[in-house]
Amino acid sequence: MTTLNRAKLGIISFGLGNIRALSNMLLEIGYESDLVSDPNNCKYYDLLFLPGVGSFDGVVSKLESSGFFDAIKSYVDGQGALIGICAGMQVLFNASSEGSKSGLCILNGQLEKFNTVKHHVPAVPHMQWSHVTFDVPIFDENGRAVNRFYFVHSYFLSAANPFSIGITKYNKFRFCSIVRKGNVVGFQFHPEKSHRHGKFVLKHFIGELIAK
């Protein structure tokens, strides 16, 4: 079995998503990573990242046209470990309330759009630093809480989703900001834009997902 820092990490590169900041942050916490642009190569990795920005339908379309849609489903079916980030987390689910495309359906749930009136939130998208209350709190190596991240998203997953492992409040509205089902984890926030908190949340979950 590979030791922790010799694990093979890959970042799926399909044309949408800020990849370099993520790979720089991974390097800072001791992990080299490859950019994976050939879907056939997914199987060689211990852990894959799916970064994504933009709309649900937009990301799904790009995953389909690049061949990654089916490759990711096979990879997860084969017990591969996957971390989805922002729109990369959203497409793990079934659908978005305003989109027409079907997501990866790896986790059950539907994304809904923030509405300033219905949800009593000041603006759409939710674009700011916000707290995450994890079901199981996470701390860094100095014992400081890891709980504050940068978010940019217009759609959200309900706080009642069964795969939720952390909640965020936008104004007073609660939504799910992190999910997990077995070897698949999804962050609604951007760890690569959340300095210390981002580094440690990545370190924590990479450690959990590739420790066998």
Binding site: N18, R20, A21, S23, N24, M25, A123, P125, M127, W129, Y150, V152, E192, K193, S194, H195, R196, G198, K199
Partner: protein
């Protein structure tokens, strides 16, 4: 939040928008701000649109959201910079020369991704550095973008820039009522007391370049950021 002024590939500090002092390599400075856990970074270029490869390096180095302003003239350029990892773009001159571009950016990327830079010298808004001949009356400047949907106003006092003589509180008050958006004030901030005063006057956020980069009477280069801001 810190402001980094870039001239070519060098990071500099301005005084009244001129007489620039060399601070260091921008990538190194960003790395230090990463360690200091800065929440947001503003990068402005005074040498025109920076090359994509350099912009990509800056965005990838920063482990926090970053805004960029300087020399963006086309939609394609704007789209590319957003895709490189910048959260917001800052515009100034384009208010008068290319309002259509700003409206298109607002529509395509969202109002929250668009910031307007209002650099005030006396009663005028500067459009090119601090050159008097390329400025307009502040009221005219404010009227020119009142129809635009944007997310942030970066209000800088050119008179106070680099002086460390405290914020221009009158400026903040006079602008606050005209806009609903987030107002980030810059110019003359010395310490946390100045930041507090600026916020009480109506600024939603404060941006500093000298406070976080130069230190002491000799103004030696020292990059820092207080942990509890």
């Amino acid at each position: 939040m810190p402001i980094l002024l870039i001239d070519g590939q060098r990071c500099v500090k301005s005084y009244n928008f001129e007489k620039f002092k060399y601070l260091g390599d921008p990538l190194n400075i960003i790395r230090i701000f990463n360690e200091l856990e800065v929440d947001e970074l503003i990068i402005k270029s005074i040498s025109g649109l920076l090359p994509s490869s350099f912009l990509e390096a800056l965005a990838s180095e920063a482990f926090m959201p970053v805004s960029y302003g300087g020399g963006v003239k086309t939609f394609a350029q704007a789209a590319e910079i957003y895709s490189l990892g910048f959260e917001k773009l800052i515009f100034r001159t384009s208010i008068f020369t290319n309002m259509d571009l700003l409206k298109r950016i607002s529509l395509s990327f969202g109002a929250q991704a668009l910031a307007i830079s209002c650099d005030v010298k006396g009663k005028n808004a500067c459009l090119n550095g601090n050159k008097y001949h390329s400025s307009v009356a502040l009221d005219e400047f404010k009227r020119s973008f009142c129809d635009l949907e944007f997310g942030e106003l970066l209000l800088t006092s050119v008179d106070k820039d680099g002086t460390g003589s405290g914020p221009n509180l009158n400026l903040i008050s006079s602008v606050r009522d005209d806009f609903q958006v987030q107002i980030t004030y810059a110019g003359g901030i010395r310490d946390e007391h100045d930041i507090q005063e600026a916020i009480e006057c109506g600024a939603n956020a404060v941006a500093c370049s000298k406070l976080f980069t130069l230190h002491g009477k000799q103004e030696g280069v020292l990059i820092w950021y207080p942990g509890n801001l």
